[in-house]
């Protein structure tokens, strides 16, 4: 069974998924970061493939992406580094990339290679549902890769239901109208939106992302949804961390309250 589905079968609530940019802060950081996240209780890990033009990302991930590219990482090199990753961890792994590097690599080859690597799902923000369904769904299904779709506060109810029908793995709930980044607290408007989604009784599980940065926002997301995704806040921690393992331990402990 796909590890994402298995996670949601065995754990309900307070699921933590952590995003980081591959090749940042150092080109060799990827494996140590995955190991640290896995050892310290991250339920799911999103490996970001850096892109030159990340339009959905705020300043922190823009910076980590351009630094990672300067470090010389590429999708090809990343997959090569990840080839023994399943000897290290059983945590579900997602790959997040913009569409152009994936298309350039070849969609069929991409799905085949990430499947062989042991990646369970993908997030490709600029691949709309319609284009996925028409052109690529059969490839993803063929390799058992779950492609995760986003819903936002602007998404109409009818479209949320449509995305829920087509979507697999979970739905990525974009918390607010913004690019990726950090927030200290979610206002009532966001809480109402989370609650509304919960009340819709969708087939997919729901994880909130964009703006989750501390225990307050993590707890707020978990009040109505199945868990949350952090990215920018973790990358900020990595930026200044003398030791990845310790920094990751402290970060996850402070965020979730798990000891």
């Amino acid at each position: 069974m796909n590890r994402i589905d298995k996670l949601f079968q065995t754990k309900s609530g307070r699921i933590l998924s952590v995003y980081f940019t591959a090749g940042y802060p150092e080109i060799n950081s990827t494996i140590p970061i995955i190991r640290a996240l896995s050892d310290n209780g991250a339920d799911m890990i999103e490996i970001g493939v850096p892109f030159s033009d990340p339009v959905a990302d705020g300043p922190v991930i823009q910076h980590s992406s351009s630094a990672a590219l300067k470090n010389g990482i590429s999708l090809k090199k990343l997959l090569n580094r990840l080839k023994d990753i399943r000897e290290i961890t059983d945590v579900p792994l997602l790959m997040m990339s913009y569409l152009n590097p994936v298309l350039h690599y070849g969609m069929e080859k991409f799905c085949r290679d990430i499947h062989e690597t042991g990646i369970d799902g993908t997030i490709i923000p600029d691949m709309p549902l319609e284009i996925y369904t028409k052109n690529y769904k059969h490839i993803f299904r063929g390799y058992g890769i779950k492609n995760i779709f986003l819903v936002t506060p602007q998404t109409a109810e009818e479209r949320i239901r449509f995305i829920d029908v087509e979507g697999e793995g979970f739905l990525y709930v974009v918390s607010s109208q913004s690019t990726t980044g950090t927030k200290q607290v979610f206002p009532k408007k966001q809480m109402d939106y989370f609650k509304h989604l919960k009340d819709m009784q969708l087939k997919n599980r729901l994880l909130a992302g964009f703006g989750i940065s501390n225990r307050v926002t993590f707890n707020q997301a978990c009040r109505y949804l199945d868990g949350a995704i952090v990215g920018s806040a973790f990358i900020k921690v990595l930026e200044n961390a003398p030791d990845i393992h310790t920094a990751t331990h402290v970060f996850i402990r402070d965020l979730t309250g798990r000891s």
Partner: protein
């Protein structure tokens, strides 16, 4: 009737579409659902036509360049988009889109700009309509196109220098898209070229098609025929080319030539010749030719002309290339500078460096003596004075 047209998903053959993150879906969908209805409504058409005439100064002249024709031994006509209000074809699009934005109930306008011509056009129409205006401009372009930055500020726009990437047009588009993601409800993105997700390429091409609409009757008046033998236009994103090609797309007897910015040469890394060097990819919401490396990362383009300094090209133009409907050439910085200088001295017209790339092609291709060649003089060169003078060694 029009065989070269966009399908309902926004594709020209293989190119185009709307490759957007879900955050932009409601805005793009709203535009897709409404743009044709609004563009074709009598009130919109009437208002746009009257603004184009009385405010922008249309129709722009079709000028027979006598001395240029004598020199190149053919018949050269210049379509004088440089004579519009604000000095470039960009105003045609800006006027159309601001009326559209108003119709959609938007309050705040954002735009990207390279050379600053689109930024100035947008700031101008925002002032005219009393709407708030924010223009994203690469930090490098802010420096090299300073006169236009001052104009935008005088017109009341906020100009935000973008310091990501190469600090040029591509980065300005990225920031404008991020702004739109963060302000989906009240904001309209007034895009300046035939790029971006559907419906922008079609929307902007339609608004610029006024150029070739006029060209038809102006040529008939001057020559008795409504079509020239050849049309030449420069292309960065491709809006002036799309506009002057538009009514001739399905007339194969008209030779269409697009001139890209070769920068320091297409055999160097410092170039913006997307068709010459690019491959199919996704950039700014559209599938099109894109300059990229072996890993699918978008490469940083270079051209002396800020308006052509873009690593993509409109999907319509990619389609025209793929269908062999248009020919593409690349002219380099020095050739464009030379052509700008030559036009100034021969005809008393200082062209924008963008348009000078189209003029430069006259040194590369010989046209028959009895042919009518139309060149789109898409903008005026005031903004480029410093660069032209410095490079021609005219100033100290």
């Amino acid at each position: 009737m029009n065989a070269i047209t966009v399908d309902k998903e926004g594709f020209y053959g293989e190119f185009g579409g709307a490759y957007i993150p879900e955050m932009l879906y409601p805005n793009i969908r709203e535009l897709q659902d409404n743009y044709l209805g609004i563009l074709e409504s009598p009130t919109f058409r009437h208002e746009l036509q009257s603004l184009l005439k009385d405010y922008a100064g249309r129709p722009t002249p079709l000028y027979f360049a006598e001395r240029l024709s004598e020199y190149y031994k053919t018949n050269i006509y210049l379509k004088r988009e440089d004579l519009t209000h604000t000095g470039a074809h960009k105003i045609n699009n800006a006027l159309g889109q601001i009326l559209l934005a108003r119709q959609l109930g938007k309050k705040r306008i954002i735009a990207e700009t390279g050379a600053g011509q689109h930024g100035v056009a947008t700031a101008t129409v925002c002032a005219r309509m009393g709407m708030e205006c924010t223009v994203y401009m690469g930090a490098l372009d802010v420096v090299r196109q300073r006169p236009n930055v001052e104009r935008m500020k005088l017109l009341g726009a906020s100009v935000i220098p973008v310091e990501q990437g190469n600090h040029t047009l591509k980065d300005a588009v990225n920031e404008a898209l991020r702004d739109w993601i963060s302000h989906p409800e009240d904001t309209y993105y007034l895009i300046g070229s035939v790029v971006g997700p559907h419906p922008y390429p079609d929307l902007v091409a339609r608004l610029q098609s006024v150029i070739s609409e006029e060209l038809q009757w102006q040529l008939r008046e001057k020559t008795g025929r409504d079509a020239p033998d050849t049309i030449i236009a420069c292309v960065g994103g491709g809006s002036n080319a799309a506009g002057i090609f538009y009514h001739y797309l399905n007339r194969p007897e008209v030779r269409l030539i697009a001139v890209e910015a070769g920068g320091k040469g297409i055999d160097t890394k410092e170039t913006a010749a997307t068709i010459a060097l690019g491959q199919t990819g996704i950039l700014h919401g559209s599938k099109t030719y894109v300059m990229q490396d072996d890993d699918g990362q978008i490469t940083e383009p270079y051209s002396i002309s800020a308006g052509l300094d873009y690593p993509g090209i409109g999907p319509l133009l990619s389609h025209l290339f793929r269908q062999h409907r248009a020919e593409f050439y690349a002219m380099n910085d020095d050739e464009a500078l030379e052509a700008a200088h030559f036009l100034a001295r021969q005809e008393g017209i200082i062209p924008a460096l963008e348009s000078a790339h189209a003029l430069a092609l006259l040194n590369k291709i010989n046209f028959p003596e009895d042919h009518q060649v139309v060149i789109n003089l898409s903008g005026r060169g005031d903004k480029d004075l410093e660069v032209i003078l410095r490079n021609k060694g005219i100033t100290e």
